[in-house]
Amino acid sequence: MGWENWIISTFSRSLAYGTPLLLGTLGEIYSERSGVLNLGVEGMMIMGAYSAFTTTYMTKNPWFGILVAGIIGGIFSLIHAFTSITLKANQTVSGLSLTMLGLGLSGVLGKGWEGKPLPSTIPKMIITPLNSLPVLGPIFFQGQNLIVYFTLILVPILWYILFRTRIGITIRAVGESPATADSQGINVARVRYVCVFIGGILAGTAGGYLSVAYRPAWTEGMTAGMGWIVIALTIFSFWNPINGMLGAFLFAALYHLSFRLQSYISPELLKAMPYAMAIIVLIFVSRGNLQKRVGAPAALSLPYMRGED
């Protein structure tokens, strides 16, 4: 078993498992950049997974399933947007409720759908002749699916919008100082609604990826905590899509390696590895001056009320 085998399996599995994490993280970055902490990622993801599965089952079209997952995730996120932006409720509580609501609702609705094989799933692609490239071929052009590529393309686009366009400045301004943005004539509530909605769409899509491409099957609670990893990765990324990509794929690579390395290192230790890494990075991120440089949006999780600052 040569080193190529290790590299190929680690990177290709990292892409496959990291993609839903990355999609969720990209969405959460946008939401948090606008100042809204959404702890409902897990709930939006599972609703996406449920709706993608049922839609695909009924229409036999997995792409339609993914589309519906995105829409449902988006609509679901509006609950959080409404309570936290319009009603100015506590964002932590509202987000947590969204997670619980999503897990519960999908569990109840999904009862009859468990254990059903899906008639059609997102196809895995083999791109000739690129797949015959050494090492890179099997990683990128053999057995991945379109959503993986779509997500990879999304990263630079979302980064560009956030840091190089007027729209991005607007979003960041709203997240840093909503009062200032408001005085400049920016509609704070509208910007936040849009960002939360984007977060919902991406989290829903991530869930859809799980149930019609990655597994593919529906089971109650199948997101199994991925939404919380997304929250950690968002902090890990310093709210930057490029770092988010690195974080998601690094986490996924470690997750895969934790199974491959079992013959050599104690499995219990390996199981903790990806999470330990997340904690270590969080420690570094939250240290004094570094925090100033890369820190969270200043108005994160603070509802904006005109005339109060």
């Binding site: 085998n5 599995r13 094989p117 597994r215 099957a217 499995p267």
Partner: protein, 389 residues
């Protein structure tokens, strides 16, 4: 007018009365309607362990007109005591089944709290006068699956994704490995642990890791069809676990293990109803049911013992058995199944001599493992590659 004193008196009378009534209704009277509660560790839709128990529960309820059942799903290990109390006190259950190894100590304590009720713990080994244990064990089926896996592997590496390194799973791995070695002495069984009973993601990545190691036939212990699906994507054969998994990949599921918990539940509940088993004579009752009691079945789905697509491959592979002579693997599986289904169980996978992977003799020639030895098994059979603790 009611004074405070009168109210106190009335309340205390009611209080005492309710106690008397409660204790009168406490012990189950044979021949009267019976209520049984089931506590599951996973969701009933998981297609694995909990699902199989719930199927059995429904069969019992359909079979016995005098039986009413309730269940609680996804109960975390450690919280079983609360749910047992709830089932007994609020639901008025006469019999409570707890269906996970990790529920053992909580069930024992609950049995002591409710000495007048009948409890039953699945897969454990602690009993009390009102607590029996039961298990429909798969090790014979895993052995038969192993015979087929050994014949089907081309890389001489078969794979086993395991849930937790506990005796039950180790016993199944050992039995599987003994089967693999019997039809293919060159083959190995590569093992990965996921430390979850139900985790499709972990099962998927563990299976992918085994594929990267070069494994090409898959068996597993996890409560979802994930490993079957991952293997099928790559075109590798696999063996379903717990529920019929044929439908998830009809071209690649060779066979598998199917549980029939109803065999045990029907027998036990009928005997409780008849007054054979009461809340004071269960201390020595252990249902350890295998193929011959029909508590377990081998098959890709009920009635399909071996997927016809693999019949030719299995018939093409021949082995030399000291007793049976030259025999093809298909016939060998059928012969072994027949031997183990025989009431006297003329064959068992753990017939001596059996050596572990360190070369230590574990079962001497001419002897067979006892139920106690089987349920406390910790050693790895020869041919197992990978972590063991």
């Amino acid at each position: 007018m009611l004074t405070g004193k009168k109210i106190t008196v009335v309340l205390s009378i009611l209080f005492i009365l309710s106690f008397t009534l409660a204790s009168m209704a406490a012990e189950y009277v044979p021949g009267t309607p019976l209520k049984a509660g089931f506590i599951y560790v996973g969701p009933v839709g998981d297609l694995g362990w909990s699902h199989a128990h719930d199927e059995a529960r429904r069969i019992c309820e359909d079979t016995f007109p005098w039986l009413e059942t309730v269940y609680v799903e996804s109960v975390p290990e450690g919280n079983e005591g609360l749910y047992i109390d709830k089932l007994i006190q609020e639901e008025k259950c006469d019999v409570v089944f707890t269906t996970s190894f990790g529920f053992m100590d909580g069930t024992v304590m609950a049995a002591q709290r409710h000495p007048e009720k009948i409890l039953a713990h699945c897969s454990g080994f602690k009993r009390t006068p009102n607590l029996m244990t039961y298990m429909a064990d798969f090790y014979q089926i895993y052995y038969l699956n192993g015979l087929m896996a050994g014949a089907l592997t081309k890389t001489n590496k078969t794979a086993y994704v395991g849930a937790f390194p506990i005796p039950e799973v180790k016993r199944h791995m050992d039995a599987f490995t003994i089967g693999v070695k019997e039809t293919n002495p060159e083959a190995e069984v590569h093992v990965r642990w996921i430390y979850e009973w139900f985790s499709p993601t972990a099962a998927k990545e563990a299976a992918e890791a085994l594929i990267a190691e070069g494994c090409d036939v898959f068996a597993f212990t996890e409560d979802s069809p994930t490993v079957v699906q991952v293997a099928a994507e790559k075109g590798y054969p696999s063996f379903g676990h717990y529920s019929p998994m044929y439908d998830f990949s009809p071209d690649y599921v060779v066979s598998g293990q199917i549980a029939h918990w109803e065999a045990i539940y029907l027998d036990f509940l009928a005997k409780v109803y008849a007054g054979v088993y009461k809340a004071h004579n269960l201390a020595d009752l252990d249902y350890w049911w295998l193929l011959k009691e029909k508590a377990v079945e081998i098959g890709a789905k009920p009635g399909m013992l071996i997927n016809p697509l693999f019949e030719d491959d299995l018939k093409a592979k021949k082995v030399n058995d000291p007793v049976l002579g030259e025999i093809n693997v298909y016939d060998l599986v059928m012969k072994r199944l027949e031997q183990m289904s025989d009431p006297s169980m003329v064959f068992d996978p753990f017939n001596g001599p059996v050596y572990d992977r360190e070369g230590k003799l574990r079962v001497p020639e001419g002897s067979r493992m006892s139920v106690y030895e089987l349920t406390t098994m910790e050693w790895a059979a020869q041919g197992i590659v990978g972590p063991w603790e």
